[in-house]
């Protein structure tokens, strides 16, 4: 990492009139292995290095990337950023001001035990193929797939405030799935859908999630759900499995508490938020047992870091306390705008080619006192357990949501009695969180990783973490996404992530250039 080049960028920015500048020099290496139906459909390595320069000139922002990592390349990039900032400064309602932050100097490494880049590609492929072979032993399984992905990112952040921070992030992801059905296809995934679980950890997380040990169960459940009846339409008590609850938190708590969104900066694409500042400290967001936090300091969670891309240390911030809406996700700019003394440290960019935005860290529901999932099921007279996300949608103010899951389990008198296919549930955010009457305890609490949270224009995908234990929500509308009555029996899930996914996304991006989301 050429720190001199990054520091040189700051010098050039100062000389061109920047009142503030930061430079992020980022080197990334990644490896992905993906198998489908006993073939390796994607074995890819990727490496990149880039320098992104952000400047504040006359109160306006400008940002550019260096095309070449040379002094000439840096001068060209900083010049572009300054020109952009000067143009921005001529269309402002007021100059951008940043909440104060001390200068920080630190070298930090995300914790891990086993370096996944030291595990051979052969071993990785073998693990996935073994899982596939095991899943395919179950009669009725039609398709199988698996994925392992690993990324090491080394990021240098320097700023004209005097910060000099080097962070190295190691991220690992793993997942398998099986599809069953004759004319319709039903998937079960492990540990999560759409590529599995992602953590800020090493190969040890692949071992811990025990793909091989879960392969047979996953296969059997895919066949089970393919033979199950359609989830009935009803109003009942819903228990959300922890990974589904993680996405519920992401969409209905994380996004609406992003303060740049609240201030209207995402209106054109990702939307705004119902959590306007007049609600702060007043709105009864959830029931009294609902406590939601954003915590960037959790070891091994996907949204963990030491410093954000404003140079602010990662922190734990309360968003909802005993059901009351009390806090936002902030940056130095938005914190100042709201009148806060300091940013909560949530400003991040997807690599050196993007300017940072307010992003979730690890936005989590704190554990409750309802014991284990089995205890919660035993305590439920009539309801449904919904597990593993399949479908998700929420309006542009984050009120009206609808989710679907891979499987549902009907509960009667404290016992699971029957699986159902194609389950879905619907609600209005505050009504839903106010109906939460039980949250499982710490033993069930898991930090789930969502690797592709999309926001911004141009669209940035970034990893976020969400701690959750299964929780119960009273009187929730279920089965809203049933197929039309004059159609064949509804199926779900014929196409989760496939072997084509990477190629299609790449082509999509290349073709449409500005296409977002």
């Amino acid at each position: 990492m050429n720190k001199e080049l990054a520091l040189y960028a700051l010098d050039v920015a100062r000389s061109l009139g920047a009142s503030y500048a930061d430079a992020r020099l980022i080197k990334t290496v990644s490896e992905t292995v993906e198998t489908r139906d006993l073939y390796v459909v994607y074995a890819a390595d990727n490496e990149s290095i880039g320098l992104g320069i952000r400047v504040l000139v006359r109160g306006g922002w400008g940002f550019a990337t260096a095309r070449h990592l040379t002094k000439l390349g840096v001068v060209a990039a900083v010049t572009k950023a300054v020109e952009a900032a000067k143009a921005s400064s001529r269309l402002l309602n007021g100059r951008v001001k940043l909440a104060k932050e001390a200068a920080h100097q630190e070298i930090w490494q995300s914790p891990f035990s086993i370096d996944p880049f030291k595990i051979s590609t052969n071993d990785k492929v073998s693990l996935l193929l073994e899982c596939e072979k095991l899943m395919r032993k179950t009669r009725g399984v039609k398709q199988t797939s698996g994925i392992l992905t690993f990324t090491r990112e080394k990021k240098l952040f320097v700023s004209t405030d005097g910060s000099d921070i080097t962070q190295t992030f190691l991220t690992s992801g793993c997942g398998i799935d099986a599809q069953a059905g004759v004319d319709e296809h039903f998937v079960r995934s492990w540990p999560n859908s759409f590529g599995g679980q992602y953590e800020s950890a090493g190969w040890e997380m692949v071992q811990r999630w025990d793909l091989l040990g879960n392969a047979q169960r996953v296969a059997e459940e895919s066949v089970m759900v393919s033979k199950a009846r359609q989830c009935p339409e009803m109003v009942t008590d819903v228990i959300l499995g922890a990974s589904q609850l993680a996405l519920q938190i992401h969409e209905s708590t994380g996004h609406p508490t992003e303060l740049d969104r609240v201030f209207g900066e995402e209106e054109n694409y990702a939307g705004a938020s119902f959590l306007t500042p007049d609600n702060l400290g007043k709105l009864k967001y959830g029931s009294k047992i609902v406590n939601l936090t954003a915590n960037a300091t959790v070891p091994n969670a996907l949204g963990t870091f030491a410093y954000d891309d404003d140079g602010v240390p990662g922190q734990r911030v309360e968003l909802v306390k005993n059901g009351l809406f009390v806090g936002y996700l902030t940056s130095r700019e938005t914190a100042h705008e709201l009148g806060l003394d300091r940013s909560g440290g949530m400003m991040r960019a997807t690599g050196p080619g993007f300017t940072p935005l307010v992003r979730m860290t690890n936005v989590s529901l704190e554990p409750g006192d309802a014991g284990s999932l089995q205890d919660l099921i035993a305590d439920t007279k009539r309801g449904i357990l919904l597990d593993t996300n399949y479908s998700w949608s929420i309006d542009d103010r984050r009120h009206n949501f609808q989710f679907g899951t891979e499987i549902g389990w009907l509960i009667k008198n404290g016992k699971i009695v029957e699986p159902v296919r194609n389950p879905s549930y619907w609600g209005i955010t505050t009504n839903f969180w106010n109906s939460c009457d039980a949250i499982c305890g710490p033993s069930e609490h898991v930090y789930w990783g969502i690797p592709t949270c999309a926001k911004g224009q141009p669209c940035q995908a970034i990893g976020t973490g969400h701690g959750a234990a299964p929780a119960r929500f009273k009187n929730t509308k279920v089965g809203v996404a049933k197929p039309a009555e004059d159609k064949p029996k509804g199926g779900a899930h014929s196409k989760p992530h496939s072997g084509h996914h990477h190629a299609k996304v790449a082509r999509h991006n290349r073709h449409c250039a500005g296409g977002s989301k």
């Binding site: 074995a43 269309l91 051979s120 296809h185 995402e266 929420i394 009206n400 509804g490 084509h500 449409c512």
Partner: protein, 451 residues
Amino acid sequence: MITEAKCKKIIDLAIAHAGDRVTDMQVTVFEQEQATSRFANNEMTQHVDTCVTTVTITVNARGRTAFFATDSTSTKAIKRAVDKAIETAGVLPHDATTLRVLKPSNLTEDATPKFSRFDPRIAALGPEDRLKRVKSIVEVARRGRFSAAGIFATYLNSYAIGNSAGLFRFDQQTNVECSITMLSASSSGWQKGYGCNLDAVDPVALAEGAASRARKSRNPVYVRPGDYTVILEPSAVLDLICFLYDDFTGTEHWYETSSFCKKIGKNVLGKNITITDDANHELQTGFLFDDEGMNRKTVTIVEDGKLKTPVKSRRSVKYLGGSPTGHGAAPSSAEGEFPMNIVVAGGDSSLEEMIASTQRGILLTRVWYVRDVDPNTKLLTGMTRDGTFLIENGKVTRGIKNLRFNQSVIDMLKNVVEIGQPVLAAGEETFPAVVPPMKIENFRFSSRTKA
């Protein structure tokens, strides 16, 4: 901007470095220069100027395929990428179905564009030029007492493919994009434009269109969810029909995961629906060769409601028969294809005529966060957004609060009663395509929301 000569040099270097260690090899170079001026609350919030070059090496070493991508074009980085790809391929299991790369002799048609998709005026735009356009949008907002948010963005894309059989393709194109939301205290309106030519996007006209929708939808009222006649503007049509694209691919038919599996030759949509994939269409964007270097052919996928054929890659034709259509992914063991240039045939109704012929219905400007909830029936859910109106007695009477829909897109395309003229529409769920506005019966809304 990267040149054709530079791309050729990178590709030749990689192929030479691999030598006889590989059976086949393909190298792609893709560069995108992107400049985005982003605004909200009638002020500039971001102003970015970026450039990324990605070199992707694909090696086939005796039936073992591996990829390596790097954003460095240095000799050292390219050689390292080749070495690493060969090393990875070496430990993979053998795949007897691996395809050889495309030979130049297989190219029988000229892929030279009939018109240029490169506009030097877009390439020459700087931050002051973008500011000028954003200011013109904000002026429209201020005049109407709205708050404007959106982007004005430009793209310069260069794409080269070369392989060890001697094939080399290169093209460059520009794109311009402008998306605008106008907000009042109780309403919003949205418009988005996209094209390869600077004249394709008129920021002031888009701003006025968004402002008009925000103005007309002030003080929206609730309507009861249920089945409605709807009129979808082209962007809304696009963001729904794109969920059928996967079902139009040969690989999904081969795997029997397409919703239209085993229905080739059968009526699958309404008789007034014809869908082609046509990279040469004058309104379309994108390169004219696929990721194997093959020319993109015009394919009639659905004709008068009948499924004719999916698009096919060189691999899927081995299982489905027929000829590859030039929609393939980079050569590897099991990758597929994709329709990148969808064109939905138009009809003879104008939007005004559709409204005039509607006794009671809903006009949708934009749909949002659309997701597939049942791929077998293509049941989709999503929300309306930024300009949803009630139509009564042939007139748009007022704005309504947003609604959630749960609607099969297949059923939707069986219930189209009027079609307008197609335009290059841009949405948020997919890349732009040429689609018309549509009037549809029995579109199902399942719930409403506060906003």
